[in-house]
Amino acid sequence: MKRYIARRLMQGAILLCMVATIVFFLGRLTGNPVDLMLPEDATPEDRTALIQTLGLDGPILDQFAIFVGKAVHGDLGMSIRMKQPAVEAFFDRLPNTLVLIPWAILLGMMLGIPLGVVAALNRGGMLDRAAGTVAVLGVAMPSFWLGVLLIFVFSVELGWLPSGRMGGPSHYVLPVITLGTFLVAGFMRITRSAMLEVMESEFVKLARIKGLSEAVVIWKHCLRNALIPVLTLWGVFVGNLITGAIVTETVFAWPGIGRLTYEAVIYRDFPLLQAVIILKSILILSINLGVDILYAYVDPRIRLA
């Protein structure tokens, strides 16, 4: 188990290095990155000064070394627009996103997994078809448009819920639905197909031979096994959530790291965007590591290997 975690940590570190390298060299793609790091009205003096402080007049590999050296110490440059260290800006906004995401995951699991089980039990029936429609629609609707639609229906027309910004519990409803919809569809699809496969297996037959009740057979014996493939898709879900958060927070003016990403893009704030991408990568990798450990807990064949 320890070795398993250690290996995962190593892989994560390598991936992180790859991301940092790609980000660094992409910044150099269009010439000197100072042009990306300076506001448009900067003077030539500003430019030279920045080149020197960043050590950008040396060979590219030296520059890379400087970049890595600073990054290790938590310095990923200054945000142009916010005039504050990019890392700081990220951590100022992070809590706002972290209060949103768990609810979306909860919505996805609480709705998606039971729906998947029910759809599998009713295979081919009305419920299954209804669930299938939800899944197909959930995938086809771009989530930013879903957010706009929800605002139109529930804020503009019905006036039930606020259309954006952070606030009391009612402010969470629409962003959580927007962010969670694709999770509901995703969890449901996988749970359903995993359940269909598990329900055919011999150990389920043996559980019935023992005379266990249908509820125990389905919700304990089948679901626990069906959750294994569900968990493997977590990595993909986490990535989707990060993307989803950008869009959702943009639509609902939610001051989290997603909105920060959007701002970095539209204001062409390269140092900020660079920091956001690297920090988000760390976030994704940590969550994936957590999921891997959870995965090992659910599947003893991995835990004890």
Binding site: L15, M18, V19, I22, V23, L26, G27, L29, T30, L36, L121, N122, R123, G124, G125, D128, R129, A131, G132, V136, L137, V139, A140, M141, P142, F144, W145, V148, L149, I151, F152, V156, R192, S193, A194, L196, E197, E214, G235, V236, G239, I242, T243, V247, T250, V251, T261, Y262, A264, V265, I266, R268, F270, L273, I277, K280, S281, I284, L285, N288
Partner: protein
Amino acid sequence: MALAERPHSTDAVARRLSLWRLVWPARVPGGFRRTARVPWIPIAIISVIVVMALFAPLLAPYSPIDQTLRDKLLPPAWMAGGSDKYFLGTDAFGRDILSRLIYGARVSLIVALLALTAGGGIGLVVGIVSGYVGGAVDSVLMRLVDAAFTFPAILFALLLAVTMGQGLGTLVIAISLLLWASFARVIRGEVLSLRQRDFVALARVRGCSAPRIMLTHILPNVLNTFMVLVTLNIGVVIIAEATLSFLGAGIPPPTPTWGLMISEGRGRIADAWWVALIPGIAITLMVLSVNLFGDWLRDRLDPRLRQL
């Protein structure tokens, strides 16, 4: 005496399964639709959109770019205050939404075509090489694929848009990055099983070179799968393009794209819902149609891909 004895068979449809299936239960669980009828409605919708894109200059009643400020924010023709001149209304600059929608289809389809060719092509090559050559090449390439799955490609797409500037080229590269890994993974799996087949062994015995075998024996056999993947990913590309446009990292204005139209309209959602909601309906319909069509094609050509 008829005994109602089906305590655990909740599966009414499965009665129609073949005997072969009973003897050898399918490992691959079925999709939501079991009977594959030709999806005429999706095909019709796709055709309409393709025609729109191809003949945009002929079909669009107005220029998609020219502004007529005196006609701004007119509602669709059927609503109170709507004008017969603008069937779907106008946006904040007085541009005809129908015309912009028609030209927007063009952008969506061009991006889909280019990104699927580039991203799908890379995935195809990586998948074939990885699967056929195996060994260290395979493990390095597959690690890359895993990495690509872990990181949201949208982030790199945004980075590209900032560093390289917005434009069609950037967009296509960004979306190709999103696609290649899933293509590579599926194609590799396919190649791994093809490699075991007799005709490949035979070709090797005959002294065919590895590139030749990959080109003449492996490639034609994965084309079905490739086509299914392409179809199933059209929706992914359209959504990605719209999302990037929405985030200000797509094709720059004033070129009309569906995502940009939503982005421009969402600020006026309170007084002019049609500007933001109509393009979204177009995206949803298009993606729904290509996905349903893709599902059908997959069931016809390559049912094993159902597990995706």
